[in-house]
């Protein structure tokens, strides 16, 4: 029984002095391991009286609890220090560039086109497509532009040696879609079109249009204005003011030029709208009955509206692109910005 206190004091002193997890474990084994100095002490209890045994047992138990408490405290301290040391050693420079490729960009025309497609699909329009190499029939005749009609001057045409041509507008898809699906039909046709024009900062021989058409039983100018206002408010992300004025396109009757109130000055006049307050945006009109007839649709039963949106022009407005040639340049310094 004598010496317990000395042993316990020695164990506590060593525990407090130990600086590593291994060292405190060694102290625990030395004193309280299976063959530890204090653990073995209880084996000597046989020689004691029951009273002494009880007292010694109680005392030894108190020493054991005190030691374990201190041991856990020391262990927690050392664990924390070890974790701190590990974390400290794991310092990373998070400003170092991350390896691997970044997403590429979709062409700005693709982005605006997709946005418009989604918008029209939500309004119940189908998305149609037609060939880029067209026949004179679909590009002109079926759109009520016979040969030697002065309206052919409006569109400088790339003719092919085989007698066909590169479509000068997306309007042929009106006829193709009606032939294929018949009325009633609501459709848009975005696509590449060609005009034989010299290229400069504001003219391209290759650009994109989006044709739209609705054919149903009783389609009116009021419906056309409604759709155009809805469409353009969505395109420009705000309520827009539009106006129609007469415009001549042989495939519509009546035909209109649609102007939008200048978004820069709000209609009070600025250089963008040439001080008129209005910006010419798209041609539209009620589908000419001749076009319906050419498409195999009875104009006594059906009529409709059509419009042609300059997709390339819209893209240039949206991103303030001042040189149309950049769009077809394949220059990644430009395209990577989108």
């Amino acid at each position: 029984m004598t010496g317990f206190l000395e042993l316990h004091s020695a164990a506590v002193a060593q525990l407090e002095a130990a600086a590593t997890l291994e060292a405190i474990e060694a102290v625990r084994v030395e004193f309280w391991g299976r063959k530890g100095k204090l653990a073995l002490a209880s084996k000597e209890f046989g020689k004691l009286t029951p009273e002494e045994r009880a007292r010694s047992g109680k005392l030894l138990n108190e020493y054991k609890q005190a030691f374990e408490q201190l041991y856990e405290f020391r262990k927690a301290r050392l664990d924390a220090a070890a974790l701190d040391a590990r974390l400290e050693s794991e310092w990373l420079d998070l400003t170092a560039p991350a390896p691997g490729v970044r997403p590429g960009s979709l062409h700005p025309v693709t982005q605006v086109q997709k946005e418009l497609e989604d918008l029209f699909v939500s309004l119940g329009f189908a998305i149609m497509d037609g060939p880029e190499v067209e026949t004179e029939h679909y590009n002109f005749d079926a759109l009520n532009i016979p040969s030697h009609h002065p309206a052919r001057d409006m569109q400088d045409t790339f003719w092919l040696r085989d007698g066909r041509l590169l479509r000068t507008h997306t309007s042929p898809v009106q006829v193709r879609a009606l032939e294929k699906f018949g009325p009633p039909l609501k459709m848009i046709a975005p696509g590449r079109v060609f005009r034989n024009e010299e290229v400069d900062a504001s003219h391209e021989h290759t650009f994109y249009q989006l044709e739209g058409m609705m054919v149903d039983r009783d389609v009116s100018v009021a419906h056309l204005i409604y759709f155009m206002k809805t469409l353009l408010s969505a395109v420009f992300h705000r309520d827009v003011t539009i106006r129609l004025r007469p415009g001549y396109f042989p495939f519509v009757e009546p035909g209109f030029e649609l102007d939008i109130q200048c978004l820069i000055c709000g209609g009070s006049g600025c250089p963008v709208c040439k001080h008129s307050g209005w910006v010419e945006l798209l041609p539209c009109g009620l589908v000419n009955p001749e076009v319906l007839r050419y498409s195999g649709v009875d104009p006594k039963e059906w009529n409709g509206f059509a419009f042609g949106l300059g997709l390339t022009r819209l893209v240039m407005m949206r991103y303030a692109i001042d040189d149309i040639r950049l769009l077809m340049s394949g220059d990644l310094r430009f395209l990577n910005q989108f």
Partner: protein, 661 residues
């Protein structure tokens, strides 16, 4: 077309609107005015010619005056005063084909004095962009600018005999114009001729031989009407566009010819005092019958406009534009189209919707949603597929480019195409853009070269159409430019192809094309069908780095996409895996060895994956694979797994491969 505001004011009684207001209303109601410019004390309203394409009447001031009178509710004043010109004309007119010349009117005048025009006439012409020449020519141009009737004056003493022929040109017939240009004609050109030959190109330009000069004293005034398409064909073939041809190709009103003579005569009497008419008007014509009136149901008109309008208002509008209107019944009008709007412009009731609509103003129509049943539109799977492809490519770092559809002969040849077999542009914008691209690759190669000037490495893609004589095929092309050995770029493109579709395989080809690296080219398969190529550009095609290219037929790829997917039940029994290393020759194909291993493993193979490629002394390679096997209805015993493994080893030995066991 330039309109003089002063001139218009002379033709509209009490026109009080300012030039700017008149121009604004012309834009809103009639045609696109491009602005107003001061010209001395006058103002010139410039109107876009394209917006007058369908309006022959607006190629003269009186036509625009009619619009302004209707817009502002004023009275229109007609500048033409009909005259009594009786007696036979000494001129005979012989028209070969009345479809090409429905009417030819002419007047012989004597005691003419040719001299400079007075200031008012010269200035008026100059204000609308016409040059003053002499009093006679200036009067013809004045009438043209006023009532849109082109006219011509011949020196009658220079004509041979007194018959004017309107006939097709003889093949090879020579013609020298007033401005001394020489043309060789063919029978598609219509000429005015005397007994000796052509004296004018009908509807386009007069000839030098019969032109007015200072010594002219007798003139023949021509005021005729010619077929629009024929004039247009001649003027575009001869590249000779004149103020006359621009008007005739819009289909002028044949009623106007005699009116032109009356007006010209009145003016000539002012600018050449003492001038005398010889005989009456020679007037040969075979006019098309007046068109039947157009029935206009007012309820129908309301439905087209989408706004209510009274019969009285419709009637008032049409009459202000000089249509004659009768009431068939309470709800239907019978509309007689005036001759100057009937040649081409207005023939059906839809045309009248525009007349009424523009005059009431489209701003008076309330936007209205149509009442139509909801319908699901036809699907467009190809477009959705293309969008999916480009979005996937962008996610893998490829920036989308758009390229032209045109190629040069040289670009085509470089990529193995015979220019003669491609679709050719008849009127290319430049010599190097005369072919339509049968492949995206030539311009992809150009993109590589162009961008290599700015970047050390980059990647991009394009979705575009190959244009072949018989069809257009949507293609997807992707390319990577890199320095170094190029292997990683090809590997990235392989990965991209596998991202785009399931079932992708690569089959190295032995026969490569001249622009492909002979040992870095593979055919791309989708579910075993060839859909394109993966290759590195031949070093002769690119400088400074390497260009790796993937080219896929999108139409085919889309067709090969599984229509539906059915899930596989999850495996209920455990699987076993083991690794095998095959000793293979230096140029063995990892994919081919894998196929052989998989074939030998048989039906219990769950998966096989390639682990590593390890070079051995002597040039051989050790190719390691991990095979996972399992049965669907039970657990394979270790003996069974060992049996499969042994079977594979034996089988590979039979194929001539040693295995490192």
């Amino acid at each position: 077309m330039k309109f003089s505001y002063q001139w218009l004011r002379e033709l509209v009684e009490d026109l009080s609107a300012s030039p700017a207001e008149a121009a604004r209303m012309i834009t809103l109601k009639t045609a696109e005015s491009e602005g107003v410019e001061a010209h001395g004390s006058d103002s010139i309203i410039e109107v876009d010619n394209k917006s007058l394409t369908h309006r022959p009447d607006l190629w003269g001031h009186s036509g625009m005056a009619r619009e302004l009178a209707a817009i502002f509710g004023k009275k229109l004043l007609d500048p033409v005063k009909p005259r009594q010109l009786t007696g036979n004309s000494p001129i005979h007119v012989d028209i070969e084909d009345y479809t090409l010349c429905p009417r030819y009117s002419a007047l012989l005048l004597e005691n003419v004095t040719v001299k400079p025009s007075p200031a008012w006439l010269a200035q008026r012409l100059e204000s609308v962009g016409l040059n003053a020449i002499n009093n006679v020519v200036d009067v013809t141009n004045f009438v043209m600018a006023e009532i849109a009737q082109p006219m011509h004056a011949f020196d009658s003493t220079k004509l041979h005999a007194d018959t004017i022929f309107v006939r097709s040109a003889r093949d090879g017939e020579e013609f020298v114009s007033l401005s001394e240009e020489r043309f060789t004609l063919d029978p598609s050109n219509l000429v005015i001729a005397d007994a000796q030959g052509a004296i004018a190109l009908a509807g386009v330009k007069g000839g030098a031989s019969s032109g007015i000069s200072e010594s002219t004293t007798r003139i023949v005034l021509e005021s005729a009407n010619f077929n629009a398409a024929n004039v247009r064909r001649t003027s575009s073939r001869l590249k000779l566009r004149t103020d006359a041809s621009m008007r005739f190709e819009k289909s002028q009103d044949p009623v106007n010819t005699v009116r032109g003579l009356y007006r010209a005569l009145e003016l000539l009497e002012q600018v050449s005092p003492g001038i005398r008419v010889v005989g009456g008007i020679a007037d040969a014509h075979r006019l098309p019958p007046a068109p039947a009136p157009v029935a206009l149901p007012v309820k129908w008109l309301e439905r087209k406009l989408g706004r209510p309008i009274s019969t009285a208002e419709v009637r008032a509008i049409l009459e202000s534009l000089e249509f004659r209107v009768e009431e068939l019944d309470e709800e239907t009008l019978s509309v007689f189209v005036p001759s100057w709007r009937a040649t081409k412009d207005i023939s059906i009731r839809e045309d009248l919707v525009e007349e009424v609509g523009r005059m009431v103003g489209y701003d008076s129509i309330t936007p209205t949603a149509p009442l139509a049943p909801a319908r699901v539109p036809p699907a467009s799977p190809a477009r959705l597929f293309h969008h999916r492809m480009r979005e996937m490519a962008a996610a893998q770092g490829f920036t989308e480019v758009y390229n032209y559809s045109f190629l040069s002969d040289e670009q085509a040849r470089e990529f193995g195409f015979d220019p003669a077999a491609l679709v050719q542009v008849a009127n290319p914008i430049a010599a190097g853009q005369n072919l339509l691209r049968p492949s995206l690759l030539p311009l992809i190669a150009k993109n590589l070269a162009d961008n290599a000037r700015h970047f050390d490495s980059f990647r991009f893609c394009e979705i575009g159409r190959e244009i072949h004589p018989d069809r257009e095929i949507a293609h997807f092309a992707a390319a990577i430019y890199s320095k170094g050995d190029g292997a990683a770029a090809l590997s990235e493109l392989k990965r991209l192809a596998e991202c785009l579709s399931s079932g992708i395989d690569f089959l190295p080809v032995s026969e490569t094309r001249s622009y492909e690296h002979p040992h870095r080219t593979a055919e791309v398969l989708c579910h075993r069908t060839p859909i394109g190529r993966l290759f590195e550009l031949h070093p002769s095609m690119i400088e400074g780095g390497r260009g790796s290219v993937l080219d896929l037929d999108l139409e085919l790829l889309e067709k090969l996409q599984p229509l539906s997917l059915r899930y596989q039940p999850l495996r209920r029994f455990p699987v076993s895996a083991f690794d095998l290393s095959v000793v293979a020759p230096a140029r063995a194909l990892i994919g081919k060895v894998q196929t052989q291993l998989a074939g030998l493993a048989g039906a219990d193979l769950v998966s096989i994956s390639f682990l590593r490629d390890f070079g051995l002394p002597g040039g051989e390679r050790s190719l390691s694979y991990r095979l996972t096997v399992g049965a669907s209805e039970r657990t394979l015993s270790s003996d069974e797994v060992a049996a499969i493994r042994n079977r594979i080893i034996e089988g590979m030995r039979a194929h001539g491969y040693e295995l490192k066991v």
